[in-house]
Amino acid sequence: MGHDLLSQNYNPVTRNSQPILRDQRNINLLFTALGGLVLLFIIAPLAGLFFSTSPGNIIETSADPEVQRSIWLTLITSMAATLCFAIAAIPLAYLLAKRNFRFKRLVLGIIDLPIVIPHSAAGIAILGFISRDSAVGQLASMFGLNLVGHPIGISLAMAFVSIPFLMNAARDGFANVPIRLEKAALNLGASPLRVFFTISLPLARRNIISGLIMMFARGMSEFGAVIIVAYHPMITPVLIYERFGAFGLKYARPVSVIFIVVALIFFIALRLLSKENKNAGNQKNN
């Protein structure tokens, strides 16, 4: 449909007025050039990073137990943060999409808050929230846990900065589920909870999966909030920073390359997964 619209708009231009066509072409050229610069800006530093690191160096670094530990820690803490918070965040996203209530706009604002506050400040806030003299910290110490410098603390810091990505995607997904389908399911005798699990959730799954990926990826790459809550055990972004500070650029590069590759592998794999779902969803919606 988008294509039709485009060609409809375009045809009169090509047929009737050459000057407009030329202007159009110039604008396209200008915009392409500007966009190219942006793409180059993203690709060039990354490419530089890859080309200036020798394969031998990368292989050597990837065998380093400290690097391996930190990558596993990063993946697991981010995954745990995503999955644990999803259980509570998805129902809230449903409420925000489907119900009207007082202070809804306030709630929406609160959800977006972690995006706008500096992540080091978020780290400080989280630290206060989980330190030994806070209620949460005291509760944890009853179980013999110190959340500061603990993987759980890292997960909390990651969740804090990444939860808006899941919330917003899931909310969009639920908002797109036609209310008639939910009402039809109720009419067939299903309870509201059943309707949520059998109709709303499956139909919003594309957006939810994409939200989960975004939250996972964002949590995995978090540095500012995590370093304040836990320098040790070291997640990979912190390890990269530490190697850079202690040994310089040359030693920070191989870890960066390895971590980027791992992140990309996960990102692409999950993206493909959600694309499959998307295609299936599109077919069924047509």
């Binding site: 008639r180 109720l186 009419n187 005798g189 299903a190 499956p202 969803g281 069924k284 919606n285």
Partner: protein, 352 residues
């Protein structure tokens, strides 16, 4: 069985006001109205999708006005079918069955039964996105039947179907009703009403303007709106038969009145319609091309805005509309014997 008492629901654009109907068990109750009269809103109120501002809905003796949708057992066939796009046809039909504690073998058996009932057994494994509108509607119908509703609500189910599908669905709905299912069906099409309803209500501007049997409402419309809405007064239940010489098809009313018509159908039941203005009244039998000629007695004459309506009994009552001038020239009056004639081509047949 279903009693709607003075239901009111007001929206900015339109409203239902003081709406009351009483539907008996086994009724095929039709609600006839032009679009925008609030018909769909009414069904949503009965099904519980929306709550009324005032009034009560009593179902099987229980006040269900504030009962939750999922406890009502009143099935609503949505106009856009509301098929779940992420489930196969089979899983759509199985949806209400999963709420019951059935073994999966039993559930599959029932899905097949309901699919069979609406003639879609061959589509059972298909993805809904590959089905046509008429097929989707049947899936929706099978799914609703699977919930075993006490009452079925239909929202203009025939309006989007082509002629052939219409006939099939009409037959199916009539069959379901005969099997004991109470049906409330909204429509804007009075022909549909004639062929299906045993009782009906005409709705206009959110209120009921008349209700009763099709004969009561169509032949004796209570006001101008109903008269215009319904339009045709001469309609008769009939059987089409083949007559031996030349195999002409004739419509038989009450086993003794034979009406000639042009129809490709034969040996089936239905209704015939003849417009009031297509009938000619004369003092003696006319020599003309009209091949339907009957002698009868004028039982009533009713002056109207446009001309005079004359009711003539020829064994069944025919309504004829003529100008005052013709009325006076022929010296018509109650009790007078006259002939009526109309062409076979002015008879319309609606198959059951």
């Amino acid at each position: 069985m279903l009693e709607i008492k003075k239901i009111t629901k007001i929206y900015k654009e339109f409203a239902i006001k003081d709406f009351s109907i009483n539907v008996e068990k086994g009724d095929y109750f039709m609600i006839l109205g032009v679009s925008g009269a609030g018909k769909s809103l009414l069904l949503e109120l009965i099904a519980g999708l929306i709550k009324p501002d005032s009034g009560t809905i009593v179902f099987e003796g229980e006040d269900i006005t504030n009962k939750n949708i999922h406890h009502r057992k009143i099935g609503l066939l949505f106009q856009d079918y509301a098929i779940f796009p992420h489930l196969s046809v089979k899983d759509n039909i199985a949806y209400p069955l999963r709420l019951k504690k059935l073994s999966s073998a039993e559930r599959n058996k029932r899905v097949l039964e309901y699919a069979e009932k609406v003639s879609i057994s061959h589509l059972i494994h298909r993805d809904p996105s590959t089905l046509s509108g008429g097929e989707l509607q049947r899936v929706a119908l099978a799914r609703i039947l699977a919930m075993e509703p006490d009452c079925l609500l239909l929202d203009e189910p025939l309006s989007s179907l082509d002629v052939q599908l219409k006939e099939g669905l009409r037959t199916l709905l009539r069959k379901l009703n005969r099997e004991g299912l109470t049906i409330i069906h909204i429509t804007h099409d009075f022909e549909e009403t004639i062929s299906l309803a045993n009782r009906l209500a005409v709705i206009h501007d959110g209120t009921i303007v008349q209700q009763g049997t099709p004969k009561e409402v169509f032949q004796y419309p209570g006001n101008e709106f109903v008269a215009k809405m319904t339009g045709i007064k001469n309609f008769f239940k009939t059987k089409l038969i083949k007559e031996p010489p030349g195999n002409n098809v004739t419509a038989l009313i009450n086993e003794n009145i034979k009406i000639n018509l042009l129809s490709e159908e034969q040996n089936c039941e239905g209704h015939i319609l003849i417009r009031r203005r297509d009938i000619i009244i004369s003092e003696s039998k006319l020599q003309s091309s009209a091949c339907n000629n009957f002698e009868g007695i004028i039982t009533e004459t009713i002056p109207q805005n446009t001309g005079i309506e004359v009711i003539i009994n020829i064994g069944v009552e025919f309504f004829v509309l003529l100008t005052e001038l013709s009325f006076e020239e022929l010296k018509l009056g109650e009790g007078k014997k006259v002939w009526i004639s109309f062409k076979a081509s002015s008879v319309r047949f609606i198959k059951n």
